[in-house]
């Protein structure tokens, strides 16, 4: 064929096809194999076993032949455990499935297939297979699948596995064009929560605001979005804005009869009021929260509200009231076998007892808290409880023990919480001053200053430097101190020589 004939034929071909044709292998496969090839675009990774599970009615040899043919395509890449289609090709093919009646059945079989694989796995691959299971569950039944995604996200958030959550939500978005409006709202709400968890305030605010402003969104999600937005504002110390959000959430929840959200909202309102210094109003809202939670039989909410009340009394110096509230909370949590929050409240109880100068009770409460955190190996709350215990032990005049415990707390804080590590080191310094051990005290003050500098806490650095200098210390490095001494000695010698020269001046 001549060049001009070739060109003409190619022009005709171009005119007949779009710029983004199907994958050539699919376009030219016999119908049954082309069907199998399209099924390969449903999972993110495929091999013959996966596809056989998806379409058991198709002869295995057809599946094997098609997978082999696809494996030679430039748009298919081999992976460690199968093949993946190029994203652009897969998305195009995947989108053609949405209206097909067999799509749900294929996805159901794939979800079951991955469920079996999940059960057989114990290592890190389990999370990948779990994501694949829920992805196909959405294809089989969007409502059931999304509920599974939301449940798994909640569990993953508790384990701080935010990447796992984001990935699951990203996979769910592949079904956007066929999801109901309420289902898309549910996804956006979950994404807003993850963004807030990650401190991405702008994204969290945009996502939540989108739900609040969407009049078609179910009232329950608008209430939850308002409440969550309040938490986002509160975390940024925008307490007035947070209060407005919580108040709007309460109003909408009351109007729409969504009572189960009311205790949590009331607690949040109370926290915002407390942070704004409106303590009496804060306590009033906690009373509402406790009342509503008791009516609903929501013991977790009762415990949360009583704990918040305990904290308010504690901050006001009303230690016996604080102790009463925290004790009630521990009873509820103990009964409900909520070990981890129980450890937190035990630490709070330790504080309240310390405030009431009931040192033995305080120490016992801190020890109970520590026993849980120690078993869990949890670092930050463990370090905080240790720090509280150290102070309580110090108050009982057992300084060596207190120093030992504080040193453990400092070590636990050191990597991730320099400010708290600095405070703990400074406490040690103060206790050592009281014990008349200035050398050791200076060492701890210097360590504290280093931590505060790492934390960028200039005020704390200044305060600690004053305390250090009060015990005859300086933060200057040894070399600089040596130089200053040398300069002082040389200067002194020069002055002495001058004086001697003047005294013994022969003239």
């Amino acid at each position: 064929m001549s060049d001009s004939e070739d060109l003409l034929q190619f022009q005709r071909f171009m005119a007949a096809t779009g710029p983004e044709g199907e994958d050539p292998l699919i376009a030219f496969l016999p119908p049954e194999e082309a069907y199998v090839a399209r099924v390969c675009a449903i999972p993110h990774e495929f091999d013959a076993a996966t596809i056989r599970a998806a379409i058991p009615d198709v002869p295995p040899e057809t599946v094997a032949k098609t997978v082999e043919a696809l494996s030679t395509s430039a748009t298919v890449t081999p992976t460690a455990s199968g093949f993946t289609m190029h994203d652009a090709v897969r998305h195009r093919l995947f989108a053609t499935w949405f209206r097909k009646p067999e799509f749900a059945a294929i996805n159901r079989r794939l979800a079951d297939y991955y469920a079996h694989l999940v059960d057989a796995q114990t290592n890190g691959r389990r999370a990948v297979l779990e994501r694949r299971r829920v992805f196909h569950l959405i294809g089989a039944d969007p409502e059931q699948g999304l509920n599974a995604v939301i449940r798994l996200c909640a569990a993953a958030r508790e384990r701080f596995e935010f990447a796992n959550c984001s990935s699951m939500l990203g996979l769910a978005h592949e079904y956007d064009s066929v999801l109901a409006a309420a289902e898309r709202v549910a996804l956006h709400y979950e994404e807003g929560k993850i963004a807030a968890d990650l401190g991405n305030w702008r994204r969290a605010t945009d996502l939540l605001r989108g739900i609040i402003d969407d009049s078609a969104a179910p009232a329950e999600f608008r209430v939850r979005a308002l409440n969550r937005l309040g938490l986002v504002d509160d975390a940024q110390h925008h307490f007035e804005l947070a209060l407005d959000d919580f108040t709007a959430a309460l109003k909408l929840a009351t109007a729409a009869g969504i009572r189960k959200e009311i205790p949590a909202i009331a607690i949040n309102i109370s926290n915002a009021l407390r942070d704004l210094g409106r303590i009496d109003d804060a306590l009033k809202h906690l009373t509402t929260a406790i009342h509503e939670a008791e009516l609903l039989g929501d013991e977790d909410a009762v415990a949360a509200a009583r704990n918040a009340a305990g904290l308010i009394h504690y901050r006001r110096g009303e230690y016996e009231k604080a102790i009463a509230n925290f004790s009630d909370v521990t009873s509820i949590l103990f009964r409900r076998d909520r070990v981890v929050p129980l450890a937190g409240v035990q630490a709070n109880l330790g504080l309240a007892y310390a405030g009431a100068l009931r040192w033995t009770d305080s120490e016992a409460a801190f020890r109970k808290s520590l026993s849980v955190y120690q078993a869990l190996g949890t670092s930050e709350p463990y370090a905080r409880a240790l720090s509280g215990l150290a102070r309580t032990v110090f108050a009982q005049q057992r300084i060596e023990e207190a120093l030992q415990i504080a040193s453990a707390a400092e070590k636990a804080f050191a990597d991730t919480h320099p400010l708290e590590a600095g405070t703990t080191a400074r406490d040690c310094g103060r206790w050592l001053v009281a014990a008349e051990r200035p050398d050791n005290a200076r060492q701890r003050f210097r360590a504290a200053i280093d931590y505060f500098r790492t934390a960028g806490a200039a005020t704390e650095v200044a305060v600690t430097e004053r305390e250090l200098s009060a015990v005859g210390g300086t933060t200057l490095p040894p070399v600089v101190r040596g130089c200053l001494w040398a300069v002082a000695i040389v200067g002194g010698l020069i002055v002495l020589i001058v004086i001697l020269a003047l005294v013994f001046d022969p003239n």
Binding site: D3, L7, F10, Q11, F13, M14, P19, E20, D23, A27, F28, L29, H44, S71, T75, T77, H86, D87, A88, V89, V128, F160, E161, F162, A163, S166, S167, L171, E174, L198, A303, N307, G317, P341, A343, G344, V345, A347, G350, L351, G355, L370, G377, T378, E380, Y382, A383, R384, A385, S387, G388, Q397, I399, Q404, A408, A412, D415, T416, A434, A435
Partner: protein, 285 residues
């Protein structure tokens, strides 16, 4: 012919990118080569070409390909170095992998009880005595992990770097991160804000990263000195001519193909294949 060889046989152009990789590999200042390009631009094929080059040149490498449902995190990146260099070179990292970040501290409450301050007056003020508040005990948490991912990431990275600093490594390892736009934001920020700057600051040059992504890393003056950046261009007419010849087509079609596909490699591949099959008389179903 192996699958890789067959794929690479169709590889055209990108000579500039291969040369750039060679320069990057021998440049002691550079730690990462960031190759950006939209979907279908040929990043994965370039990765295969560079992997082949590593094999031919005896350079050790590891490949991490990300998909929407299977992405790699910082542990996978550190883990592949750990595996390639050998576990024995990473005693601290290996130990950190096996133990919680903050092991419970043994606090013996019954020793060293020296009584001092017998007459001290302890103020009842909360701040002075305790200075500690657990503001919101986690009521909705049924169980906590041993450490937070942030703590784990920090600890494992610092132990890994400490090991790598003291390890003797004969030659650099090249880590290919393909489809890196699918990495989670926290992994990306770890990579560009923690890992690469730390390798740079500690003058560790035995890990070289080739980052292939639709989205280039954000510009950041602290880390840019360690990054070689490049954007993969579309194919030009001579490249398409070369490809058409490789596929047994008439190269005079190249200008039209360029016009029709904008030189996007994926579209060129697909259209060539369709055209060829059309010519050979295979019917579309």
């Amino acid at each position: 012919m192996s699958d890789l060889d067959r794929r690479l046989k169709e590889f055209v152009d990108r000579k500039g990118e291969v040369e750039r990789f060679e320069r990057f590999f021998s440049d002691p200042e550079k730690i990462a080569l960031a190759v950006a390009g939209p979907t279908g631009r040929g990043k994965s094929l370039l990765r295969m070409k560079l992997v082949k080059k590593c094999t031919d040149d005896g350079i050790d490498y590891a490949v991490l390909v990300n998909t929407s449902d299977n992405f790699h995190d910082f542990r996978a990146i550190l883990g592949c170095c750990h595996q390639k260099f050998g576990e024995e070179k990473f005693p601290r990292f290996t130990a950190a992998l096996k133990t919680p970040v903050t092991a419970p501290v043994d606090v013996n409450l019954h020793t060293g009880n020296i009584r001092v301050l017998e007459n001290a007056q302890i103020s009842g003020s909360v701040g002075a005595v305790t200075g500690l508040i657990l503001n919101n005990p986690q009521f909705n948490v049924s169980g906590l992990p041993t450490v937070t991912p942030m703590e784990l990431r920090r600890k494992l990275t610092s132990e890994f770097l400490a090991d790598l600093q003291s390890a003797t490594v004969a030659a650099p390892l090249v880590v290919f991160l393909d489809a890196a736009e699918k990495l989670m934001p926290e992994t990306l920020s770890w990579l560009w804000q923690t890992f690469v700057p730390a390798l740079g600051e500690h003058e560790i040059r035995c890990v070289k990263i080739v980052f292939l992504s639709q989205i280039p890393p954000d510009a950041n003056s602290d880390v840019d000195i360690y990054i070689e950046r490049t954007e993969l261009p579309p194919l030009d007419v001579p490249d398409i001519e070369e490809y058409l010849e490789l596929k047994g087509c008439n190269k005079v079609l190249a200008p039209l193909m360029k016009q029709f596909t904008n030189g996007e490699p994926l579209a060129v591949v697909q259209q060539t294949e369709l055209y060829k099959r059309g010519q050979s008389g295979q019917a579309s179903p």
